[in-house]
Each structure stands twice: as C-alpha cells, then as structure tokens.
C-alpha cells in the first residue's frame, strides 16, 4: 500500500486528503480549494481509495451517499405508488380471479393495469423487498466505510495544525490581540472552559472541542435501523412470529390456533353504540359510525399437564378478561385481539313434528346448528333422524344439495320422520322457505317454530418475539438521531506566534449561528481580532454581482 508522506514527516494512508497530523492538504484537488473539505476529517475512506476488484466496485456502489439517496428516493416513490389504490389485503375477496375482477370492476382500466403490474400487492413483491434490502446494505457499508476512519481521526487529533489548514477553515481570524497580548492564550483557555469546551494546549497552540459525540449520531442511528430491519426479517423465522385468527361464538369453547394447549371460551360478545346521531363527515364516510365499544368477555383455559392435544374435558381456568379494541388479552407472550364481529348468527332452530291435516303435534325438537344430533326422540315413540345437514345451502347440483361454507348461514336438512302412522319413515328436505318431499306426499311435516341467534367474535392471536428487538432498534435509532441532531461538534484552533499574532480557525458540522455566538464571547474575552466567515463573504459577493 502506498503511503502519502506529508511535508511534516507524517506518513498517511493512501487516499488521505488532509494530513492526519498537521492538516496540510495532500491531494491536488484539495490544494486548490479555498475552504478545506472537513467531511470525515479528510481521512482516507476505503471507497474513495480502491476501485479495482469487483468487491471494491460493489463496496463503492453501496457506500456512495448518492446511491443511498437514490435508493431512499426509489423506495419512497414505490411506496407512494402503492397508496394510489387500496392494496389487496384490504379487499375482502379471496381468490386471485375475484381480486382481478374487483380491480377492473371498481377502478376500470386503471385498476386492470394496476393489478396486472402487481402494484396491488406491491409491498409483498420480491423487488420491493430487494429495494429495502439494498437500502439496508447501503446503510451498513456506508457506515463502515466512513464511520471507522472518522472515529480514528477524531481520536487522534493533534493540537497544533499547519497554517495552511487553519487558513482554509470556513471561519478564521488573524491579527494582533487588541490588548493583553501576553495573556491571550490564558484568556482563551479560560473562556473556552467556561463555555464547556474540552481544551487541550500544547505550547502556543490550543484545540478546544465540544460535542464530539454528536459525530457518532448518524452511525448509532444506522445501527438502530439495522437492528430494526433484522427484527422485521426475523418474522420469517419459524417460532418468532404467530399470526392466527379465530371466530368464537358466544358460549363456545375452542382450542386457540397457534397457542398450543390453550382454550378460549366466549362468555359474551357486547357491541355498544353511542345513542346520539352520527354527524357530518363521519356519517358520509360511514366508518364505524356509531360504535362505542366492541367487547368479548372470555375465559382462558389451559389443558392440565399430560392431557391429549385438543382434549377439552379437563381444563384449568387461567383468567377471565374483557377483550376490547386497544385492550388485548395477554398471556405468556401471546396477545388476543378483538378484531371483528358478526351479529345474530343462527344458533339453533326449533321444529314441531306436525300432522299436516290434523295439525296435531308429536313434540318439538331443537337443532343445534353448529353441532346437530343425529336422532331426536319425541312423544309416543316418534322420532326424527337427521339424514343430512347443509349449514350454508346453496342449491342443488345434479340433484344433490350443496353447501357453500360450514357456517350456518342458510341451513337445510334432510329429515326422516318416524311415527306410528308411518313406522318405516317419511323423508323430507327442509330449507328456509322451501320443503321438498322426494318420496311423494308425506303425512307429517317439520313445522318451523323459531330460531335462536348468537353473536360471534373475530379474534386475532399474535405472538411476536421480535417486538423487543424492534423496540431496542427503535430506541437506538432515536438515541442516534437525537445525538446527531440536537448536539453539534464545534472545534476552535488558536495559535499565537512569537510576535504575538493570533491565528484562529473554527469549524462545526452544523449550527454556525451558535458557533459564532461562542466566537463572539471568546473574541470579546480575549480581545481577539474579528473573525471572518469566508463562505458568507463569498455568498455576499455573489449576490452583489447578481444584483448588478
């Protein structure tokens, strides 16, 4: 590796812009500048030094701030495109064909194109994830590329800097102190200490520094982001993340999906509404117009040790809880959320076995629609057999009744009625407002009496082990951002020559206004010559030219 030898005798690694020891400009480009480039302290950065092998090229690509910004902008634009139309997961249809139909029905040709381009599910698309991943890689590489050299040079700062370094800072002062010239450095030191600077002095040179740790802010927040992204990626690892849902009817006890050995009983579902009238935009938008509270009162059970999986006979009560929105039931890292509800689902139907002509009743039977019995015994030895049950009757196909779902939305039954009059039995197909008698005219019928309904809660079961990681990532990020934003790194170099002339140079990474306030105080206390902002004078000149 080539070394760059500075006039002062210090050996600098290849790529160094400002000598690590004295601050003299080393590269030709740097020598031409009026104000030194103080980013990364002029140290050698890997990406700016090597560009030969493939690895160098990849490294340089990802470490570039320009590439990083481009990646941020691309991610931003892609994310915004995904908000033009609702994403697929907000549309309550199941199959791809239905989704496609939905987009073209509701949004016309634009929806068709949107769907065809995959923009309707853009956030789960591979290429979006690749973009995010590239941003993550860029954050890591850029941080390593710049963070370590920066740290090294901040750690090994020399107090005394070469005149060319001092002259090429943005804010400088040069001249004789107005008075007390022999005390100048003592006064400078004292004042800067008062202003909470760390002051180092070597012979006739002073380096005062404040808020150096803020330079580490960006690197800390990048670490936080990486931890956060890692946490997000852990969702894909089995065991870190459970996302299940269940429908639970009032009075029902069910095994909780994804939560081994636990059962949940819904004691009651409550929907409360405000009794006032919905107003204004709220009414127009129709979003949860009057809902005040959705709540499921539940009992959480656990199987006793050694029980067979799924066995629900011997359960231990763990706790009772009212699950509401914003108040999930939490247990052992699991959380159960109130997400959805369905009111007045059919629970049971009551029929009367009646003689068609005499209207004589042989007794009533109640069919539990989620768990119907096969046979119902009635008075006088009469009985009804349930030959078939279709919870969600959707019509006949090839003469066979069909059911669309397993939910009792539109129950239909095939009964066989055994009576003393017809001991061999009569068959009847009964659906809502429809009765068929396949074997010819029956003597008896199943007369509908009434129906009982109940409510259903839609619950979501989550288990997310990554939350603590995400939380830590978020906190590290916030600490880093605060470090970098709310503090700034200020440095003042002062040197007094033998003839009493004072050279001053000042640099800060941001907030020059406050820096100058410090300098005003310092100038005043140590009677220093007035400093000038070389950049400001440049702007003023420019402006005067423009005005002319």
């Amino acid at each position: 590796m080539n070394k760059l030898l500075c006039e002062c005798g210090h050996e600098n690694p290849e790529g160094t812009k400002l000598c690590q020891k004295c601050g003299r400009p080393l590269s030709e480009e740097e020598k031409d500048k009026k104000i030194a480039d103080m980013r990364y302290e002029g140290t050698a950065i890997r990406s700016k030094t090597y560009n030969k092998s493939i690895i160098d090229k990849v490294w340089n690509f990802f470490s570039s701030v320009k590439v990083g910004i481009a990646l941020i902008i691309i991610n931003l634009v892609v994310a915004s495109i995904g908000t033009i139309l609702p994403q697929e997961f907000y549309i309550s249809v199941a199959t791809d064909a239905e989704k496609e139909a939905h987009y073209s029905d509701v949004y016309g040709w634009f929806g068709e194109i949107y769907y065809a381009l995959g923009l309707s599910d853009v956030y789960s698309s591979i290429w979006f994830q690749v973009l995010v991943l590239m941003l993550g890689v860029s954050i890591i590489i850029a941080s390593i590329d710049r963070g370590f050299p920066l740290h090294k040079s901040l750690k090994n700062q020399r107090v005394k800097r070469h005149a060319s370094f001092m002259k090429r800072q943005r804010v400088i002062a040069e001249g004789q102190p107005a008075k007390n010239a022999d005390e100048t450095l003592a006064l400078v030191e004292q004042k800067l200490k008062e202003l909470n600077y760390n002051v180092r002095r070597e012979d006739q040179s002073i380096l005062a520094e404040r808020g150096r740790f803020s330079r580490y802010g960006p690197y800390v927040n990048h670490v936080g982001l990486i931890v956060f992204l890692l946490g997000v990626m852990l969702h894909l690892v089995p065991g870190f993340y459970v996302d299940e849902s269940m429908w639970l009817r009032e009075g029902e006890t069910r095994a909780i999906p994804g939560m081994e050995g636990y059962f949940l009983k819904s004691d009651k579902f409550i929907l409360e509404t405000y009794d006032n009238d919905p107003q204004g935009e709220q009414l127009k938008q129709g979003v949860n117009v009057v809902a005040k509270n959705f709540q499921t009162d539940v009992t959480l059970y656990q199987q006793k040790e050694g029980a067979v999986a799924g066995q629900a006979d011997d359960l231990e009560v763990i706790k009772q809880y009212e699950i509401r929105v914003n108040h999930p039931l939490k247990h052992e890292g699991y959380a159960l959320y109130q997400m959805d509800y369905r009111l007045n689902e059919l629970k049971s139907m009551k029929f009367d076995l009646t003689h068609k002509e005499t209207e004589e009743s042989l007794g009533q039977l109640t069919i539990d629609l989620t768990n119907p019995e096969d046979e119902y015994e009635l008075n006088n030895g009469a009985k009804v057999k349930l030959l078939a049950y279709y919870p969600d009757f959707s019509g006949f196909k090839d003469g066979v009744p069909q059911t669309a779902t397993a939910s009792p939305n539109n129950p239909a039954f095939i009964f066989k009625m055994f009576t003393s009059e017809k001991p061999e039995g009569e068959t009847s197909f009964v659906a809502i407002q429809q009765t068929l008698e396949p074997d010819g005219e029956n003597n008896y019928k199943m007369k509908f009496v009434n129906v009982e309904t109940r409510n259903m809660s839609g619950l979501t079961i989550r288990y997310d082990r990554t939350l603590p990681i995400l939380f830590v990532g978020g906190i590290i990020f916030m600490i880093g951002v605060a470090m970098g934003s709310y503090w700034n790194h200020r440095r003042i170099w002062v040197e007094q020559l033998a003839d009493g002339t004072v050279h001053l140079a000042a640099h800060t990474n941001k907030n020059w206004f406050s820096m100058k306030k410090d300098l005003d105080k310092l100038t005043d206390a140590a009677h220093l010559p007035q400093y000038v902002d070389q950049q400001e004078s440049k702007i003023d000149e420019q402006q005067e030219l423009e005005d002319k």
């Binding site: 480039d37 949860n288 990020f477 934003s485």
Partner: protein
C-alpha cells in the same frame, strides 16, 4: 355560554391576533431609513406580544375543548388541523426568540392563518370516539406527530423567505415561475376558504342519489352548486343547479366540485391581484425580506429539519407503531397514512443526506423544504380525505 362556545371564541381571538401579528411583523421589517430602525424594533416587539397572546388564546381553546370532550382534541380533521396550526405558531415563537428574525413571522403567521381557516371549513361538532381511538396513544401519537410536522413546516417558512429574497422575480425563469406557482397555490387555499364560506353563508344544499362503485344506491349532499355529478345521479332537491357533467363511479364528484370551485375562486382572486397591482405576487412580497440574511435563513431551514425530524419520527412512526400494535395487533400494516408517514420520513432522511453533499445548500435546501411542506400538506389533506384507509376520518 357553554364551555364549547367559549372554546370556539378563543379560537377566533387567536385567529385575529395572528392576523394583526402578520401586519405588525410586516411593519417591523418595512424600513425605509435609519430613523425607522427603533420604530421597527418597537413594531417587532408588539408583533411578537400579539402573537403570543394569540397563541395563549389558541392553547386555551385547545384545553377548554379537551375538558369539554374528555379527550385530546385531535380526533377529527377540524381538531387536528387547528392543533397543527397551533404548533406551527409555537415553533415560530420559539424560533423567533432563538434568531429574532421578524421576516419569519410574515410567512409563518399567514401559513398558520390559512391552516386554521382551512380547519374551520370542516364540521366543528364534538364527535364521540370510535373504539380504536379510545387510547392514551391518541394523545401521545397525534400531538407528537403534529408537533414534528409543524417544526418541519417551519423549515419551509425559512426556505420560503430564502427564496423570496434570492429568486430573481424580475426575470422569467423556470425558478421564478415555479416560485410564483407556490404563491398561486397559497392563493388557491384562500380561494377554497372563500368558496366554502360563500356557499355556506348562502346555506346552499343540494341532495342527489347516485350509484357507487359497488352498484349500491347512496345519497349525497352537495354544499356547493354541483358542477360534476356523481355516477348515474338523480336530483332530489328542487331548483338547484344541475351538474354539467356526470363522472364515473370511481371519482367522488362532490369533492371534485369543491376542488373546482376552489380553483375558480382562487384563480379569480389571483387574477384580480395581478390586474390591480400589475405585478407577480412574489415580486410584491419581495421588498419585505430585503434585509434578510440569506445564510441565516439557510441555517434556520436546515436546523428546523434537524429539530423536527426526530420529533416527527418519534410521533409519526415509533408511537404510531406502538399504538398500531396495541389496537390492530400489528405495528405496521401498509395503511396509506402509515405509508405516507414513512414517505415523509424517507424524504427528510434524503434531505439530511443531500445536505452532506456539496452544493445542496442555499436555494436547493430552500426548495427541498418547500417540497417537504407540500408532502406534509398532501399527507394532511389528500391522504385523510381522498385515499381510503384507517385514517380517513373527519
């Protein structure tokens, strides 16, 4: 007078204080000769005092409404937008004491005024909270996010002052035209306010029946004469304007009509200004900032982003994620508002990185802050009102 009436009146007081404050601040920087210097200082002092009185009244509105409703008044469009205006004024007052630049007031206060006027166009009734909003996170998340956005908005105030001073309005260039467009956009907001208040003063109301995207028949009430009709509309009110053109179901013709009227009123207003003064709006305002230090403006713009960015991240992303985890079982769901909070975050992250590159100071920074403000306004207006999602309230 009930507490809610008192609250409403306090907001009026705040509004007028900011209005007076705007004129006083313009008086403070309009200085013709040296003897006027002390007079300018006096103007500045009175201006900031009036602004502070307005702000106190604004806070009092906030607190009395909070007491009346029993929850932080940030739960609908009216409440959120007035709170946003309040935090902009707060950020301005803090900034004024940091940098003592009166010119900032001439831009910041009108922006706050426009925002409050815009808020007042929404229903001001107290509405009860739906279950998902019944959480302390409503207070924590929304107030922090609004505060962060307002600090970021202040950066665009400094950016606008910078551009006002440094864009050469006498020459026709892409830049001067773009800047005049920004001014025009401001006039359009006034147009919206004028249009809305004019028609509501006339008690205009027209009812229509229409067929929505899912082929259901619904009813809609226009508060402005219908230019555009909803899909397969049928007039229910008599003697009201018949829409000129029917729109397909996908487009909310009622909102489109509002936008149309705002543009009509705003453009008319803009033309009137141009005809009366025979100058572009930007060149009219330019003398106000003649003595402003450009570099200081650049620094204020950058610094406001630095201060606002962490606050925004905390409020609009981190607190939002915590709440989403509690209420909806997931910390992130790609809801449009969530996405736009992320976009705002990414935008300002890009801004801060660009600032590292050489040359992205001065005018470039100023333009970036103005674009940032447009994103924030887009997030407030379009994402809440047009794009469907969990935040489409108001």
């Amino acid at each position: 007078m009930s507490l809610i009436d008192i609250s409403g009146n306090l907001l009026y007081i705040a509004f007028f204080c900011y209005l007076i404050g705007t004129f006083l601040f313009s008086g403070a920087i309009k200085e013709k000769n040296d003897t006027a210097a002390s007079r300018a200082e006096k103007f500045g002092k009175v201006a900031i005092i009036v602004t502070i009185i307005g702000f106190i009244s604004h806070v009092a509105y906030f607190i009395t409404r909070w007491i009346y409703t029993g929850h932080a008044p940030v739960s609908n469009m009216f409440e959120f937008t007035t709170a946003f205006g309040m935090f902009i004024v707060l950020s301005f007052i803090v900034l004024y004491y940091m940098y003592k630049v009166a010119a900032l007031g001439v831009v910041a206060l009108p922006i706050a005024l426009l925002i409050i006027a815009y808020a007042a166009m929404f229903p001001t009734e107290v509405s009860p909270l739906v279950p998902s909003l019944q959480s302390h996170w409503l207070t924590i998340h929304v107030i922090t996010a609004a505060l962060g956005q307002s600090i970021l908005a202040i950066s665009s105030v400094a950016g606008l002052v910078y551009l006002l001073k440094n864009v050469n309005t006498k020459v026709r260039s892409f830049e001067s035209i773009a800047f005049e467009m920004v001014m025009f956009f401001g006039v359009l907001v006034i147009g919206f306010v004028v249009a809305t208040s004019t028609f509501s003063a006339m008690n205009y109301e027209a009812k229509f029946e229409y067929v929505d995207t899912l082929d259901k028949v619904s009813e809609v009430t226009y508060t402005m004469p219908a230019i555009f009709g909803m899909n397969e509309y049928k007039e229910l009110s008599e003697d009201k304007m018949t829409p000129i053109k029917a729109m397909p179901a996908l487009i909310d013709a009622r909102k489109l009509t509002t936008v149309f009227w705002s543009i009509i009123f705003g453009s008319a207003l803009y033309l009137l200004i141009r005809l009366v003064f025979r100058r572009s709006v930007s060149s009219m305002l330019q003398p106000l900032v003649k003595r402003v230090n450009s570099q200081l403006m650049d620094e204020i713009a950058y610094r406001s982003v630095l201060i606002g960015f962490p606050v925004f991240t905390l409020g609009a992303l981190i607190f939002a994620m915590i709440w989403a985890q509690v209420a909806w079982s997931r910390f992130w769901g790609w809801d449009p508002k969530e996405v736009w909070a992320l976009i705002t975050f990414l935008y300002y992250a890009a801004f801060l990185h660009l600032r590292l590159s050489k040359g992205w100071e001065g005018k470039k920074t100023a333009w970036l802050t103005v674009i940032g403000f447009l994103i924030i306004i887009f997030n407030l207006v379009v994402v809440n009102l047009v794009i469907a999602g969990l935040h489409s309230y108001a």
